[in-house]
Every structure is written in structure tokens, then in C-alpha cells.
């Protein structure tokens, strides 16, 4: 008899502890958290409306972030440390700080669960509820806006042309007529070239590394895609140069599933604050300046309506 009683007591105690732990994470009231440290965290935690998605994330204790593992300088998983780094990743860390407060300031990655994505899996990852947001050089366009929501523009770039340093007869997109231009399959880059240089001959490969090789070997006269990707290629091969003006507009936004109440305005607020207080400029200097050589203080959104 006493042994059974002991078991019941043990079970009851375990249940009570579990209930307290769950309650501590779920309920906003700090009464169930007895220790001083926990109370301090609760105070430093931002308060959100109960219906909002950021409140749901705060309650869960983790934010699921879809990003790329191989896209320097925006999202990259360091093979040595296993840590993610890049412009997109640091923007996401700022979101985490805004949701989880003081505790996230020290180690934002503690509150992030990374979900690796590639171009084609970005929308399905959101619609299948495998991630709370996607930060992966995600160009906002009308076709995608039918399926998901986007934040305001947090980074803006456009398509340019990469040629060998010795090339002098390609200086703008119209010069690509009659030339062999390499670009990656499954991107908008191919369509942008086709639209503006009808007679360009397109060599379509899987990624930009073989395109660079084709350029080096003279099998392609030029490579064309978003300038930020070309920066990375110039870094790999200093015998190449970027020429011409932007001939497409690529506004990057944070992708969010359509039914997330209040989440997009919240993200927009954080992005605006980052631009206003200089955090955005610092991230640009940290990740983009080493490859581009220039400095910027904001994405310079040219008037896409902020939702």
C-alpha cells in the first residue's frame, strides 16, 4: 500500500511540475514563475495581442525560419560551426529580439529553428506550415502575392551583367543581342533577358558556378542575374566585372503565410525601426559592403504599398 501511495504522490508531483512549466510558458501572468530570474525575463518580454501570430510564436518559444544554406552573402550555413550567417539571417535575428525580448538579445539563435529551403521550396514551406517566415532573397512579385503575404521591401537589388574584364563591347542589356548569355534555370533572370534582348542566345545551367566557368572558358559572353549574386562571382574571379545599369527591379521581402494575423505589420515595424536606428546600415556594411564596396542606409523602397 505505501508503495502505491508513493507512486501516486510522485505522479502528482510530476504532473504539477509539468503543469506549472507549461503554464509558465503559455500564460502571460508571471505568478506561476517563482524564481527571480524568470520574473525578470517575463518583464523584459514584449507584450502582444493574444490573437496575433507573434504572440503565438512567443508562446511556443521558437520561431521557425526558412532560409538558404548556400547563398552568400544572404544566407549561408557555416560548414565548420553549423551556424547560419548572412544578411537575411541577421535580419531574422532582429525579429527574434523583438519577439522574445531581453533573453534573445544575448543569443537569438536559441529562439530560432532553421528550416533549409531552396528557390522552388520557399512557397510550399510556408503553405505547408513548416516555417513561420521565409527570409531567403525572396523577390516580391504579383504571381507570388496570390499565394502568400510579403513584408515591406527590406532589400532591393536588380539584374546586371557580368563579363570578362577584357570585354568592351557589352555595356548594356541591348548589347546582349546576338551574344551567348548564361543564367540559371528556374529564375526570373532568363525572362528579364529575353524580354529586353530578344536575340540574346541563352545558355541555361543549374546554378551560377557553372555559368562562371562557362564565362571563363569563353563558352558564354556574359552572365546575367541579380547584382548581389554577381558580387559573389566577382569575388571568386577578379578577372570579371559588372557592367551596365539595373534592368530589372528585385525587391526582397519576408514571406509569410496568408493567415498569420498581425504578423506582417509587426515585421514591417521592425524593418522600419532597423532602417531608422542604423541597424540596417550596420548589417549592410557587415555583409554587403565587403563584396559591393559601397554603403547604403536603407532598402530605398520606391513606393510599393506597405500592407
Amino acid at each position: 500500500m505505501p508503495r502505491i501511495l508513493g507512486k501516486i504522490i510522485a505522479f502528482g508531483a510530476t504532473f504539477a511540475v509539468l503543469a506549472a512549466a507549461c503554464g509558465g510558458a503559455a500564460a502571460p501572468s508571471p505568478t506561476v514563475a517563482p524564481t527571480g530570474a524568470a520574473t525578470a525575463t517575463a518583464v523584459a518580454k514584449p507584450k502582444f495581442e493574444l490573437a496575433s501570430y507573434q504572440y503565438a510564436i512567443q508562446t511556443k518559444g521558437k520561431m521557425r525560419v526558412g532560409t538558404r544554406e548556400d547563398n552568400v552573402p544572404f544566407g549561408r550555413k557555416d560548414p565548420a560551426t553549423g551556424k547560419f550567417e548572412g544578411f537575411d539571417v541577421d535580419v531574422v535575428r532582429e525579429f527574434t529580439k523583438a519577439i522574445f525580448g531581453a533573453e534573445a538579445n544575448a543569443d537569438p539563435d536559441k529562439f530560432i529553428e532553421y528550416v533549409p529551403v531552396v528557390s522552388a521550396t520557399r512557397i510550399p514551406t510556408l503553405t505547408d506550415n513548416k516555417a513561420d517566415l521565409i527570409a531567403a532573397t525572396f523577390t516580391i512579385n504579383d504571381e507570388r502575392l496570390k499565394q502568400i503575404d510579403f513584408s515591406t521591401v527590406y532589400f532591393r537589388t536588380g539584374q546586371k551583367i557580368l563579363v570578362k574584364k577584357t570585354t568592351t563591347n557589352i555595356n548594356s542589356v541591348t548589347d546582349l543581342n546576338g551574344k551567348t548569355v548564361c543564367t540559371a534555370k528556374g529564375s526570373t533572370s532568363e525572362q528579364n533577358v529575353t524580354k529586353q534582348a530578344k536575340d540574346a542566345k541563352l545558355l541555361l545551367l543549374d546554378t551560377y558556378a557553372p555559368c562562371l566557368l562557362a564565362l571563363q572558358q569563353g563558352q558564354a559572353d556574359a552572365v546575367s542575374t541579380d547584382e548581389t549574386i554577381l558580387f559573389g562571382l566577382v569575388k571568386q574571379d577578379p578577372n570579371t566585372k559588372i557592367v551596365g545599369a539595373y534592368f530589372s527591379d528585385e525587391p526582397y521581402g519576408i514571406g509569410v503565410r496568408k493567415d498569420r494575423v498581425g504578423f506582417v505589420p509587426f515585421l514591417n515595424g521592425v524593418i522600419a525601426a532597423m532602417v531608422a536606428d542604423g541597424r540596417w546600415a550596420a548589417l549592410y556594411k557587415k555583409h554587403i559592403t565587403p563584396v559591393s564596396g559601397d554603403v547604403k542606409d536603407g532598402p530605398h523602397d520606391k513606393g510599393r504599398p506597405s500592407s
Binding site: 534555370k185 529564375s187 532568363e190 525572362q191 545551367l205 562557362a214
Partner: protein, 218 residues
């Protein structure tokens, strides 16, 4: 309805299909020629030729076709000054070499399978080594190996899709371009499946017909 998208992008799909047909026909003709030559090397009485034949088979059979294509594309050899001619030729040569290794083994098997007595009879009738091959051994071999050669041919048609990775705008690449323009993946790749079946199913029927017409009953 997967067929509908074919009519929206007929130029992309049908020029892709035409390139796939060209790659398949040239590739298979090359594979038969290379394979037969290598098989003859492998059964030749001259040891260095046998080694050469074995080396060909082992090299092309034991490395991935994709890697061979990359090597033909990015390697030191150029097949033409024009980029698109170059990648097409690289694709066709890759198909011929890789499948040629399999053809060589099939044909060698067929040649070995012929009764030694026939060769001895031919030689004692005064036919030379080459005449014996030409008039006695090879005709029987080709007829006996139609089913496995048909297998290789159909595999080759499907494997031409790998040429899309070196930039050949064949059927798979056409489907990929349509997919990236429309975001309608099921339809674009569904159309590609239909067109591949349009090539492979008649090939199967053709192989069966040839088999019935020519196969020797043993």
C-alpha cells in the same frame, strides 16, 4: 489537363522534343558503332586491343553519365567554336560513349555465345578472321541481342534528359523553362512525361516487332 500547356508553349516543347529525338538517334547510332568496335577489340586475339576494349568499358560503365557530360562540357576538348553546337555534340558524344560501353558488353556476350564449331567450320572453309566475323558471327549476334539492345536504346532516350544540365535545350529543359514562367509544375512536367512516352512507347513496340521478325529461335 497536362496536354493544354503544350499548346500554350508549342515552340519551347516541340523544339525541345526535336532536340531530344536528334540526341537519341545520333547517340544510339554512335553507341552501336562504338559498342560493336569495342566488343571486337575485347574478343580480338591481340592482347593490347583486348586491354584497350576492357579499359573503355570499365571507364564509361563505372563513372556517372552526368560526370562524363560535365567533363565533355567543361573539359579541355571543344567540339565546335559555337557554344550551342559544342554542347549538343558534347551531349551526343556523351550518350554514345556511355551507352556504347553497355552495347559492347551485350555484343561481346552475343559473340561468345556462338558455337565455336561454326567459327572453326568457317575458318576451315577458307574464310579469313574478318570474313568470319562479318558473315558468320556478327549477323547472328545482332539478331540474338535485339532485346537487350532495345533496352539500352530506351534507357538512352530517357537519359538524354541529363543533357539539360550542360545547357542543351531538350525536352526536360523546355519543361523547366515553362515551369519557371508559369509556376505550374505539375502541368509542365506532366507534358514532358507525355512527350517522353510518345518517344519510348513506340520504341518498345518497334523493338518487339523487330524481335518477332528477326530473333532466332534457339
Amino acid at each position: 489537363m497536362p496536354g493544354g500547356i503544350l499548346l500554350e508553349f508549342p515552340e519551347l516543347f516541340f523544339t525541345g522534343l526535336w532536340l531530344t529525338i536528334q540526341l537519341s538517334v545520333l547517340g544510339f547510332a554512335g553507341a552501336l558503332a562504338a559498342g560493336t568496335a569495342v566488343a571486337l577489340f575485347r574478343i580480338s586475339p591481340v592482347p593490347p586491343l583486348r586491354w584497350l576494349g576492357a579499359a573503355f568499358v570499365e571507364f564509361f560503365r563505372n563513372t556517372p553519365l552526368l560526370v562524363q557530360l560535365f567533363f565533355l562540357f567543361f573539359g579541355p576538348i571543344r567540339f565546335s567554336g559555337d557554344t550551342f553546337e559544342n554542347i549538343f555534340r558534347a551531349g551526343a558524344i556523351g550518350m554514345a560513349m556511355y551507352h556504347g560501353a553497355y552495347v559492347a558488353e551485350v555484343i561481346r556476350g552475343g559473340l561468345i555465345g556462338i558455337d565455336k564449331g561454326q567459327v572453326e567450320a568457317a575458318r576451315s572453309l577458307g574464310l579469313s578472321y574478318l570474313q568470319t566475323l562479318r558473315h558468320v558471327q556478327l549477323p547472328q549476334t545482332f539478331r540474338a541481342t535485339i532485346p537487350p539492345l532495345g533496352n539500352i536504346g530506351i534507357a538512352l532516350i530517357k537519359n538524354t534528359s541529363l543533357a539539360s544540365t550542360i545547357g542543351v535545350a531538350e525536352l526536360l529543359q523546355a519543361a523547366e523553362i515553362v515551369e519557371s514562367r508559369t509556376f505550374r509544375a505539375e502541368e509542365a512536367f506532366g507534358a514532358a512525361v507525355l512527350l517522353y512516352l510518345l518517344l519510348t512507347l513506340p520504341s518498345s513496340v518497334g523493338v518487339n516487332w523487330l524481335e518477332r521478325r528477326l530473333l532466332i529461335a534457339r
